[in-house]
Amino acid sequence: MDEAIIDLNNLCFRWKKSGNILLDIPKFQLKQNEHVFLQGPSGCGKSTLLSLVGGILISESGSLKVLGQEIWDLSRSGRDAFRVDHIGFIFQLFNLLPYLSIEENVMLPLSFSSIRSNRAGKTKLDRLNEAQRLIKSLGLEEEQAEKRPVIELSVGQQQRVAAARALIGNPELIIADEPTSSLDTELRHSFLDLLFEECKKSGSTLLFVSHDSTLSDNFKTKSSMDELNIIN
């Protein structure tokens, strides 16, 4: 199985028609089940690239296929639906909606995607069980998970809940944008291990983006924005 999850060719991106070109990436590929580390200093356009892959931004030239689908051919609402159906996101900070419970936060994508909802479980109870399983396997105590509002969780715990949300319903692609930057070193590695394990279990491809090159040892495939983006 070497079907490309992401297949990007000759991407050229700038914010405004008259502006400077920010990204010029001749080629970037992500194969199925790969765990890729993409390194780059802050401000180099990593997040912009992720927004492009997520279908939030579109580029004026080039081609970007995600799961074989030319993503810019889709309508805007089509891209929104495609995003939730096939991609799970984890961000650096503030991943959770403070007014929802931990389970509700984890199950949030399911209410936007029937594909992932069906994969997570046939009934509501099944889906809840799946959410609880993920929470547990990502190392959150169940009693903690049930009782406490999400804002009282530590940052490390919040990131695990965010990871569970990205993973639920087994999306083909997990995009993690600096998910460990606010964690201390020890937590970083245990978080990564759990993330790898769950990605393997669900057969998800992982694109891990960070400025911190010390993390790259954990990954087999590495790449850096400097190499990809010929503008810099």
Binding site: S51, G54, D80, F91, L97, S111, D177
Partner: protein, 418 residues
């Protein structure tokens, strides 16, 4: 999705409640003003409900209506007893009630009339006057007082009161040599009757019998009570009189005959027509009041936009998260329109509840102190239309933050630079 919306709103309940509160106030005000406006009209109409024609000396119809029924202002002139007799004997006339005005008691108007007043006068929904205590006047110096006079001045039966000459609150000329005894107190009516001191026409004559051209008699020239009572106290003049017809069909015919009466210049008015003129005058004030309440509502809705707009910045993260799990910018902006609609609707519901509580509480107060009867009934169709309009206005107002949220979530995407 609905769950997210409700929980998100609940998370910001402090601001949301303030917003709702300002809408509650404006809705209550808007509906309340409308209720009071109707109440005012109803009270005015109520005071003349059984009367077909009002007759007075020649003058404006509104003036006649105001001084004879509402005890506001003074009559320009009197009319003769002969004219009154002439028309009260007309074959089309079922009853007449003579009114003699011009004196007062501690700010309350004194009305000279006869027993027909208690027999024929109707108010509200064709209701008869009733006594809460005592009975009608039979002696010359008997008086029947309205419920409010009794309550505010704390008068009991058989107490004696002094009538002042003229209608000012502080009159220097007192009819203090001829006190009146309270023989009856009327039940509240919500009309000017409550604020009236009723005496017989003979009582009015008796008070003024030895006066000359509006001045009290010289010392030593005034008559004693016994002397007065021996005189013929039939009045020579009265101020106005009310007519009840056997059939309303003849109202215009009788009115025309009175207006063209050769013996004396008289004015006959139809209360409904005169009230209409009153409404026309009051309309400006009503409009002013309504404009103010509209502005209050506008301010309330504006407050809502302000709250939503200023909340948007804090909610960028929330929207970015929703974007990352597949919510489109349209969904995000829909969220805000829905929110403003929910806020407006809640405000309206509580506004209605608040209005009814306020009405129930204030109804007795308004009735006793202002003679204003505000009915606690269901909302009129007009009110409903108004409320639906407010909901739409609320939705429309939500559009402004919604558009901003739409742009913002397009620009931010899933990442927020805080």
């Amino acid at each position: 999705m609905l769950n997210i919306l409700v929980r998100s709103l609940w998370n910001r309940r402090g601001t949301a409640m303030l917003t709702i509160f300002s809408i509650v106030i404006s809705v209550t005000l808007l509906l309340g003003v409308e209720k009071i406006r109707k109440g005012v009209r109803a009270s005015f109409s109520s005071a003349v409900s059984g009367t077909d024609i009002i007759v007075g000396a020649r003058g404006g119809q509104l003036q006649l209506l105001l001084y004879s029924i509402f005890r506001i202002g003074n009559a320009p002139n009197n009319l003769s007893w002969e004219s009154y007799r002439e028309f009260s004997n007309n074959r089309r006339v079922r009853w007449t009630i003579p009114f003699s005005l011009g004196d007062s008691h501690r700010g309350y108007r004194v009305l000279g009339t006869n027993q027909d007043y208690f027999k024929y006068f109707r108010y509200g929904n064709k209701k008869k006057l009733e006594f809460s205590k005592g009975k009608s006047f039979y002696e010359v110096f008997d008086t029947v007082i309205g419920s409010e006079v009794a309550k505010n001045l704390n008068y009991q039966l058989n107490e004696e009161i002094i009538v002042s000459h003229g209608t000012g609150k502080k009159s220097f000329l007192q009819h203090d040599d001829r006190p009146f005894k309270i023989t009856g107190i009327l039940r509240p009516t919500g009309t000017p009757v409550d604020q009236t001191v009723h005496v017989s026409l003979e009582g009015i004559t008796a008070m003024h019998v030895d006066w000359e051209s509006g001045a009290p008699p010289m010392e030593g020239e005034s008559l004693s009570l016994e002397e007065v009572l021996k005189l013929d106290l039939q009045p020579e003049e009265i101020t106005s009189f009310l007519i009840g017809l056997k059939s309303k069909i003849h109202a215009f015919q009788i009115q025309r005959r009175i207006n063209s009466y050769m013996e004396e210049p008289l004015s006959a008015i139809l209360p409904g027509v005169a009230l209409q003129e009153l409404w026309n005058i009051l309309r400006t004030a009503e409009t002013g009041l309504r404009v103010i309440t509209w502005f209050v509502l506008f301010a309330g809705l504006l407050g809502m936009i302000t709250a939503l707009l200023s909340g948007l910045n804090e909610r960028r993260r929330e929207m970015a998260i929703l974007r990352s799990v597949g919510a489109g910018p349209v969904t995000i902006s829909f969220l805000l329109i829905f929110e403003s609609t929910v806020l407006t609707l809640t405000g309206i519901i509580f506004g209605i509840i608040f209005l009814y509580i306020a009405l129930i509480v204030s109804q007795p107060i308004l009735e006793t102190y202002f003679g204003l009867f505000v009915s606690v009934d269901f909302l009129s169709l007009q009110d409903m239309i108004l409320l639906v309009g407010i909901v739409f206005a609320g939705m429309l107002m939500g559009l402004i933050p919604a558009i901003k949220a739409y742009r913002q979530s397009l620009a931010d995407g899933m990442t927020v630079r805080i």
